[in-house]
Symmetry: C2
DNA sequence: TTGTAAGCGTTATCAG
DNA sequence: CTGATAACGCTTACAA
């Protein structure tokens, strides 16, 4: 391994001069700098990150923690982060699983963005307490070293429910995420509130887990129970994410082609996955910019790291109408 | 920041004793070890990764380099890697973009798995030459420090083309990936070979780039040119990945509902994306285990790092029949 | 069994 | 403008 020592010897200068030259310090003559740079590249010198960060106490790397690598959802989000971070000279790495939590306290990364419900809030708080900088996208956590960038779930759920009500539906269902999910809780609270305000509508809760399979199972169950069927009052379901809504659609299209979406069953999701836009019929859903979410999260983290003031930011949402929601009065 | 020095002082021992104790070295009495551990946890001690890896010359982290974070494709692959690596005590990080290439030469990671055509082979070779351990999934690269884990593209393409031929199709099209793509080249070579052997069939090449949009554009163009339509001899297209095939389907379903898949146009993809299994009609495609691919890649890298012998491994593929391919004799 | 001390590759302070 | 030199936090001979 070639180190600055080798360069120093080869160039006939001291190691400190080499270090200065490599870091572009103007204290060193252009001439010697040039010579040193030449030697360095000739020897294929690459700085050692461990040594550098041991000294500098920073790595210029930001970690994003996700529940899993399953992707479909994360692409734009990560892209948004990367764009912001790379401008600031930071690299982004994606981590998943309990094992990799160590990267934060061990100072392998300068800060973290959390989108992983399985990451314990206590653990996060303890990191914040030690001085680590965090941005959380999936919970509320107040601390000087933590910033939250949350979706406007309340508005999203209200938009979805109001859309269903506006189309004349009164027998509403809400399919939730996993019990612990912050987003799911917020959406449920808002949906309940809107329905209660109306008075003549009902909201039944179906437990889900944000995965497609739970949507499929729920659809099967609802058909068995006669809630969904080609006859009778159609149900209107607000799935708290698109994945579950898609699961429902697929189950029905495959097993019950007589049940028509937008007629016998009305469905709206949340997230506006790219996939949703290709569905036949088009899935109604709640949209927001995932790229922007990522970008803002990254910006907030940069501010936290630079010691700048950070305001609370919120990600706004909008309604996407779709053919999966029809009018109740046929 | 609390270091072993602080622990040493607090516990009334020397720093080397602390280091030994923390590493479970039996040289230290159980008694003192216990005391040291107690002090360490009381002070919330966390080792500094930079210092440790500066000394040990390893980080116990493996990096995977992907072209982008767009996901849909990578979930299982990464999961397969993670499972293998975590057993061996390694962490996995996902990196994307030129910037993050530095992690390898700077020794932030102990090895890398490459699935990123934009990563220059020369660059990879130079890393290998410096002693870094690599596994490549997207090219051929022979070096003592590099192992390849490649798809059996030849078999896959042959399966696809033979399937189309078997169903009576003779007017075949192949839609490729981007020019540089190793997989695409291999698939094209194999497809061509199979068609040539038959004699009475033709194979026309359509240039694509593995993205959905190129599938959409190609479909639009083929319709305009009259190659695809509700009349005349139906075309049979082998898209070199599912994403492009799905793009074609979506374009046609949306803009030309009179063109029926499996009747006026026959389509087979490659990858068996989860999404493909939910398509209506079901997309014919070539399947392989992405998780296994990841797992094998990780295993090979572990062997490389441990200095064990590594054999060349290959990922086998199989045909998934689907409704998008019908018989030519209606 | 424990302590001393050198060194990993950098950076940065201070003299020259 | 350049060069010694002391850290950074940890591991590991070697000495006691």
């Amino acid at each position: 391994m070639v180190s600055i020592k080798d360069i120093a010897r080869q160039a006939g200068v001291s190691i400190s001069t080499v270090s200065y030259a490599l870091n572009g310090n103007p204290k060193v003559t252009e001439e010697t700098t040039a010579r040193i740079l030449a030697v360095a590249s000739e020897l294929n010198y690459v700085p050692n990150a461990a040594a550098r960060s041991l000294k500098r106490r920073e790595t210029k790397i930001i970690g994003v923690f996700l529940t899993d690598f399953s992707g479909a959802f994360y692409g734009d989000l990560l892209q948004g982060m990367k764009e912001v971070l790379s401008v600031k000279g930071y690299d982004l790495i994606v981590c998943s699983g309990k094992q990799s939590h160590r990267m934060l306290p061990e100072r392998l990364i300068d800060g973290a963005i959390i989108l992983d419900e399985t990451f314990d809030s206590k653990e996060l708080a303890s990191y914040a307490e030690r001085g680590h900088k965090l941005v959380v996208l999936d919970r509320e956590l107040k601390h000087a070293n933590v910033n939250q960038v949350l979706l406007d779930n309340k508005a999203g759920a209200a938009l979805a429910v109001e859309y269903l009500l506006e189309r004349g539906h009164r027998k509403l269902y809400a399919m939730t995420g996993p019990r612990g999910s912050f987003d799911s809780k917020q959406r449920l609270a808002a949906a309940t509130q809107v329905v209660e305000r109306v008075g003549d509508a009902s909201l039944t809760v179906i437990e889900g887990d944000f995965n497609k399979s739970s949507g499929e199972h729920a659809a099967a169950k609802l058909v068995m129970e006669g809630v969904i069927g080609p006859h009778g009052e159609p149900a209107a379901i607000f799935c708290f994410n698109d994945e579950m809504a898609i699961g429902m659609c697929h189950y029905l299209q495959r097993n019950h082609p007589d049940i028509v979406l937008g007629k016998h069953l009305h469905l709206i999701g949340f997230d506006n996955l790219e996939l949703a836009s290709f569905m036949q019929p088009r899935l109604a859903t709640i949209d927001y910019s995932k790229r922007k979410w990522g970008a803002i999260a990254a910006e907030q983290l940069m501010k936290l790291i630079c010691g700048q003031e950070v305001e609370q930011e919120r990600i706004y949402v909008s309604l996407i109408r779709g053919e999966t929601v029809g009018s109740a009065t046929l």
